[in-house]
Every structure is written in C-alpha cells, then in structure tokens.
C-alpha cells in the first residue's frame, strides 16, 4: 500500500473556462494547490496548467490531497495521469 506521502501526477479537470473576464486560471490553480497542500511554494507540485481552452491543471498529489480536491465545488474530476500508446 502506498503511504500517504507517495505523490503521483493527477489531472484536476475543472470543465470549461469561466466566462468572467477577471478570471485568472493560473492563480486559481495555485491557490487551490496551496489550500490543499498547505504549502506556499507549489512550483514542484504544479506540473502544468490548462488555461487557454478549458480549465484545470496537473499536479503531484497524495491520495488524500486528491480526495480533497475531487470534493471541491469547482472541480469536475481528479484522475491519475497515465500512459497512452501510439496506435
């Protein structure tokens, strides 16, 4: 069993970008990560942000951090990044 400190890359999918012009996706993603991890420096947590065509980010999370994020009102789903294949 993975102990809670094991982290893996999860995709946090947040759906369509909010239409509000003042919405700043990356700062939203950063504050969500800071809330969930309790860490202010999240550079080595945040793998990438999705912010041009839809909303979300990829981050290194523990299982319990994943669960917290998945329950949030602004999150659709949180699922592990996995390896697909060329066909």
């Amino acid at each position: 069993t993975k102990d809670d400190q094991d982290k893996q890359v999860y995709i946090v999918y947040m759906g369509a970008l909010p239409a509000r012009v003042d919405y700043m996706p990356t700062s939203h993603h950063t504050s969500l990560l800071q809330d969930v991890t309790g860490e202010s420096a999240i550079e080595n947590r945040l793998v990438r942000s999705y912010k041009r065509s839809f909303n979300g980010f990829a981050a290194r999370l523990t299982e319990s951090e994943r669960e917290i994020l998945a329950s949030m009102e602004e999150v659709v789903s949180v699922f592990p990044s996995k390896k697909l294949k060329l066909q």
Partner: protein, 623 residues
Amino acid sequence: TTTSWDFMGLKQGKGSKRNLSIESDTIIGVIDSGVYPESDSFSGKGFGPPPKKWKGVCKGGKNFSCNNKLIGARYYTPKTEGLPESARDNMGHGSHTASTAAGNAVKDVSFYGLGNGTVRGGVPAARIAVYKVCDPGDPGCTTDGILSAFDDAIADKVDLITISIGGDDSSLFEVDTIAIGAFHAMAKGILTVNSAGNSGPQPSTLSSVAPWIFTVAASNTNRGFVTKVVLGNGKTIDGRSINSFDLNGTKYPLVYGKSASSSCSAASARFCAPGCLDSRLVKGKIVLCDSANNPDEAQAMGAVASITKSSIADVGSIFSFPVSVLLEADYNTVISYMNSTKNPKATVLKSETTFKQTAPVIASYSSRGPNTIIPDILKPDITAPGSEILAAYSPYAPPSKSDTRHVKYSVLTGTSMSCPHVAGVAAYIKTFHPHWSPSMIKSAIMTTAWPMNASTTPMAEFAYGAGHVDPITAIHPGLVYEANKSDHITFLCGLNYSGKKLRLISGESSNCAKEQAKSLPRNLNYPSMTAQVSTTKPFKVTFRRTVTNVGMANATYKAKVVGSKLKVKVVPNVLSFKSLYEKKSFTVTVSGRSLHAESLVSAHLIWSDGFHSVRIPIVVYAS
C-alpha cells in the same frame, strides 16, 4: 499513402476537385510523436504565410525550424535521456501520420524500391501544426501532456485535430483525457479524429467511445507485399513481409529453431525465443521459427534469413533482415520438405508488390465495438486504409526492431494510419463547406461510406462502423445528421451528468431540464442507430432523428430500409424540403424476435432523392 488515396478515389493533382485557396487556409493539428521537420513532406516551398486565423507558435525547441507548411510546433514530453527536448520525431510515427493527413505530394518515393509512388496527404495544400506528446521509452505519451496539447491546439485555432493515440480500455468521459479534450474542441467547432485501437478482433476492445469523437477503424487496400520463399526442390511459397533485402536467389541451408539450441527446451527453441538459438547451429543458415515475434534473435546469432509462422495473414511488417511470414499450412510444407530432405535449402526473395488484394477488408488488428461506456452509440464510426501504408518517417527512428537503417519514408500498419486518412478527408470536405460543424463533416463521411461486407467480417458494424470512407461522394451528402454542443449536453444529462459536473463541463450555469434528463443516448442525433436489447424477449425500440438538407433546396427524400432481419418502420417515410439547411425529423421503430447473447442484427436506413443516397446503419444487439 502512395496508393491509399488513389484506392479511395482521391486522385492526385488535377485528378480531384479541390478548393485550393481554402485548403491552403486549413490547419490540421497533429497530436503525436512530433515530426522530422526536414522531410520533403513538410517543406514550405510554394506556401504563402500562415493563415490569418493562426494563433499558434513555433516552439519546437533547439534546431527545430518551422516553415509555411509546418506552421506550428510545441512539445509536452519530459526530458528523456539521450534525446534533445524538442518537437522532433524520435519514433517515426508522428511524421507518418502528419504526412498522411496533410503532407506535400512527393514523387517517386518508396521503401527501398517497394511501394513506389507519390506520397501525399489528403489535403497537401493545408498547413500542419505539431503537438508532440510522445517519445520512445518511458513515460511514452502521458495524458497530462495530451490534455495540454488539446488546450493549445484549440486556442491556436486549428481546424481539425488528428490523434492516433489511445489506451487499452475505455473510461467514463470525465476521466478520459481524449474525450475531455475533444469535447472542448467540438464546442469550438473543431473535429477530433481518433484511432480506434489495435486490440482486435476481440469484441469491446476500443477505447475511443465518446460520440463527439470521430473513431476510425482500419482496413487494407488493393496493394499488398508478397515475400516468396523458394525451396531447394523448386517449390515457391508466398509469404508476407516488407522485405527489401535481396539474397540474389542464393539458397542457404535450412535449420529449425527447435533443433538449433543448446540451452533451451524444444518448446522454447521452436519459437526462437531470446537466448535460445546456438550461433554455431544457425550461422549462415535460414532459420525456421514458429513465431514472428523474435526475428532479430536469429539475426543476432548469424542467421542469413528467417521463415516464420503466423496466424495473422492480412498484414506484412518490416524486419531488420530477410524474413517471410507464412500461414500455418504453408509453413508446414516447409517443415515437411526439411524433414524429408537430406540437405534442405531455401531462399527468401525480395518482396514484390501485388495490386490484386481483395479490399477493403477490415484488418484483423482493428479494435471492435460494442461501446462499453455508451452501449447505444455505435463505435467505431468509419473505416479507412491502415495496413501497409507508406508515408513520411523519421531517420532518428529505426524502421524495425534492431534495424540499423535510417529512412525518411517507411511502411507502417495500424489504426494510427487509418485515423489521419479520415482527418485528411474531413479537412478535404471542410474546404468545400468551410462553415459546416464537426458533426456535419462526420455525418457526410459516414452516410456516404462504401458498404463493407458483413458476411466476411466478424461482428460487422462493430468492426467497420458505417463502412469505408469515400471522399468524393462525401462532398455532396444530400442530408446530414447534426449534433451540436447543446445536443451533447442533453446527451450527458441523459447519462445523469448533472449539477456541478454538468455546469462545469458545459460552462453554463444551467442544470438539466426534466426533458433532457429523460433523454436516451440512442436519441442523440448520430449518423448511426444502435440499441442494446435483452436476450430474453422480443424487442421494439424507437429512434428519433433530424436531418438537415444540404443538397438541392427543393428536394424530396424517400426512406428505404435494406436488410431483412429487422422489422423497421420509418414515420414519415417521405421528407420534402423547400430550402437549404431546412430540418425535418422522423422516427424509426425497430422490432424483432429475441436475440442470442453477443449476436447483432443490422439493417441500413437509406434516404434517397434519386441523386443522393444518405445511408446509416441500424444495429441491434444483445449484451
């Protein structure tokens, strides 16, 4: 692609009608392993500046230059040992798919003389934007990178996305990366074309299940490669492979892998399993192996060539030395010759090209339905050439395992190859109808597909969908089945997506209306009709559909049902249109006796005005 476009009627140059100014304004996003930018297939010679709508960039990394053909490049692959961080193709796959979709026409191309012809894409005048998400080895193609590629491709304003990538199993949409990316692409009017997968012929093996994705199965073309084996007694046997090596007809001693080992049991040695062959027993000989999976083992031990056995007869591969793959009966002929001859000898000839292959036939490897996530949405959607396709490649990648050669064009097989064919055709159709939505393009291609032969294809429509793509007829489909973003939101409501999930995905604050929540997936306005029924009792299912007139303004279409095993009633069965883009709805009621488990019964509904034939499959099956 030297023959696949001719095979489906899309002749090169003036041979086909083209809208070159719009084609040149078309941008195809290729999410794959990058490209070899120096390839002639991606030369910018003769191209004007990128289209005004282009919002992308050329960030292909060090020593990666774009041009007016290859207008954009981004990469999402992590640093890999020994490989420069760039959009450069280290696998050959991305160059192949990009050139199949939209590569320049390059004359007199072959694989060491094999398959000679003009390599080209479906829309050679179109531009290519590269989004590299795969590199060799670990971690391969990561979903977090793929999602980033969609995020950029959509915002960069590509017209169409082709992605020949998939997983081993299907997932619910909200955890399916390609479904998520494709949904937001569809919402912005971008069609995503995706390979069905190579896990066939078993049922329910495809992973591309979302209705807003265009899922492509693979078939062969009339061109095949034959690699003859000539025995010492003069008998000639046809085998499959793409063998460019010439032994000049010299015959070499034959040895069976089973008796060429000093370290393994006969049971392992007969397959030429790694570490089993003894070089003293195989050096300078032709080795017989009961499997085509480890050909380079024999080569490493000094064999001159190998003759192997396989049950898959419909596709040939490239090997790093002379190999011919025989069907069991033919392989046994060689075995019995060897067992009955004192000094058995043979030779393997260089491959020859034949144009007499029965085609199109669905490829054995092509993944099949039914759709495990949405049983009432038929997948795959369409079939296109995927077997033995010659297209651009990357000299950074070996053309086969343990191969020391470097080539700029090579032959690949898979639904990875059929996918960009459909992407090329979709872009071609779009040049005649630039304002058509993704679903209209998809409908035009599906309702005009060549029928494929159910009697020779296990699982029929679950193997080939609507049939084989026909680019020329698809330009004028007559009627189309449209499904826009709100139709797909209703579809999701019917699948109990509601509340926060739906609001976030749709980006709208609305919840599902009662009507929407009650909608059935089979009533999505899809260019095929599918229903899973129980096995225990007779069934009666209805489908509601709406067609849009894109043919002649004044037109009257009459319904006809082909296929007798289903009782089908169409109401109304005559549709009269007075104007273009006018919509008419109808109901189809399908009934029949109870079905055996895992059996399917199909028919086709054809709307015809005497000129257009708008044909869609009706499939009823028992789980």
